[in-house]
């Protein structure tokens, strides 16, 4: 239908939405457990909240014995389905068992006088705090989201002045770009043993000669022709060194755009190092 497609740029997401299914029938609790998408709880607190909500328990007065039983039953089911039970779930299991023992066993008279607090208090506090953010997360998700529900004019690629509008690249962008270059090279690597040493200073020389008189270059271009892994790594180190000396700056036009390197950018002048 359309002869062009717009590039959405940074707004593409590739994560799954996981959902909560609704369980109100507590009599079929075991069956209900089987109906849940078992791997969808984000953590032990999430699971506990689910159990509390499903059975309409009072969060301020949690029946520890009952909830411990259900919780452990749930862990069994997870194992039954060969699902990995994250260690945090196990830690919570032991916490629940401990709380249960505290609630059941009478304390010595001495201890009883000192300890006035409800042993469940900490857990309740954690559950309530977590619930606040769970709700906030849900509300956030209910908003229309850019690139999925609502749209804006896409960015135009500014071919005329690629260096005029940019943002300083983050460490992650730099690492990602380097990893890509390295894996590309791995694919093409001939099986040879390279003898010559290639120092960082050699790398610096390589970088400057690649730049010639240019003010900026694409990150990837600095590695063309270098298939030796060691050389690639050294060139990258040279780039980092030059960035440290503030002679080079790594930038992008937008968050997912290609990385570029700029020579002695004006932004650095007057800025204290380490800023």
């Amino acid at each position: 239908m359309f002869s062009w497609w717009f590039d959405l740029g940074p707004w593409t997401l590739d994560e799954q939405m996981t959902t909560e299914t609704d369980h109100t029938n507590t009599e079929e609790s075991t069956l209900a457990l089987y109906r849940i998408e078992i791997d969808k709880f984000t953590g032990p607190l999430d699971l506990l909240l689910h159990l509390i909500k499903r059975d309409e328990l009072d969060i301020y007065d949690i029946p520890i014995a009952e909830i411990t039983r259900q919780y452990l039953e749930y862990l069994d089911i997870m194992r039954e389905f060969n699902l990995e039970v994250a260690s945090e779930f196990l830690v919570m299991a032991s916490t629940l068992v401990y709380l249960k023992s505290r609630m059941l066993l009478p304390l010595d008279d001495e201890e009883e006088e000192e300890i006035e607090t409800d042993p469940r208090e900490e857990l309740i506090r954690r559950l309530i705090e977590y619930q606040r953010y769970k709700t906030a997360a849900h509300d956030l998700n209910m908003r229309p989201q850019l690139g999925k529900d609502i749209f804006v004019r896409p960015e135009l690629e500014d071919k005329a002045h690629p260096d005029d509008h940019f943002i300083e690249a983050s460490l992650f962008q730099l690492m990602d770009a380097f990893a890509r270059v390295l894996s590309e090279a791995e694919k093409r690597r001939p099986h040879e043993i390279i003898k010559d040493a290639f120092s960082i200073e050699d790398g610096v020389e390589h970088v400057w000669s690649a730049f010639e008189n240019k003010k900026s270059m694409k990150f990837d271009e600095l590695f063309t022709g270098s298939e030796n892994r060691r050389k690639i790594v050294t060139i990258f180190l040279a780039i980092l060194e030059l960035m440290k000396r503030r002679q080079l700056m790594a930038v992008q036009q937008d968050h997912d755009g290609p990385l570029r390197l700029i020579v002695e950018p004006a932004e650095y002048s007057g800025r204290p190092p380490g800023e």
């Binding site: 940074p10 619930q131 997360a137 229309p144 999925k148």
Partner: protein, 219 residues
């Protein structure tokens, strides 16, 4: 310059700008007074709302931007090759919420609230540009402090961090969680096209005590 022309001029700027555009920028480009610009923008907001246009004028990330209405998500989305079909996972959203409300925040604090390891989620959110490193805490180990980005504000159509809805106190635990079926459609959620719900960022209602105004400003 007549008022009518001024209004048209601002409209043209809004139309052309791919990012939210602030009053200061409009002022610089047009030479108009900020107060005047503000009035015109407010009248445009109302105008687009009242005339059931296909888009609305929203304040996001400290500027103004024209955005299509969610009613037309499917059709407008068809224009874009790489339209996001799926959304953030609950883990990501929880983590993002914690960071949004509590920034600057440490990874350990996040994990304490969630009760699970959050390293992977943090990395994902970082790579999507939703969060960023604010710095390091002056404490043993100099742990990293996280905060949200302006992309985060733009993504969720928030004017600023103060526009985040007030955190709710938990009176009851029956949050009306939406059911999302396999198509990604909401079966019983609140999401609708009514501006009243979604674009009223001012934290008017809510029984919560904790407000979002204690947050640091996003620079």
């Amino acid at each position: 310059m007549t008022d009518k022309r001024n209004k048209a001029l601002i409209e043209a700027l809004l139309f052309a700008s791919p990012r939210p555009i602030g009053i200061d920028v409009i002022s610089e480009v047009t030479g108009m007074e900020p107060a005047n610009i503000g009035d015109i923008l407010r009248s445009l907001v109302e105008e687009y709302d009242s005339e059931s246009r296909g888009f609305s004028l929203l304040e996001v990330a400290g500027g103004y931007q024209l955005r299509t209405r969610p009613d037309f998500a499917d059709e407008v989305g068809a224009l874009f090759l790489a339209r996001a079909r799926r959304r953030f996972s609950r883990s990501s959203l929880e983590t993002l919420s914690i960071i949004a409300y509590r920034q600057p925040v440490l990874r350990s604090e996040i994990e304490k609230i969630r009760g699970v390891d959050s390293g992977g989620v943090l990395r994902t959110l970082l790579s999507h540009g939703m969060i960023r490193v604010l710095g390091r805490k002056e404490a043993p180990g100099r742990p990293i402090l996280y905060g949200t980005t302006s992309e985060f504000l733009e993504y969720f159509s928030l004017r600023d961090l103060e526009s985040l809805p007030t955190l709710q106190e938990v009176a009851e635990l029956d949050t009306d969680d939406a059911i999302v079926n396999d198509e990604g459609d909401i079966e019983n959620g609140h999401r609708d096209s009514g501006e009243n719900n979604l674009y009223a960022d001012e934290s008017g209602g809510g029984e919560g005590e904790e407000s979002a105004t204690g947050l640091l400003d996003d620079d």
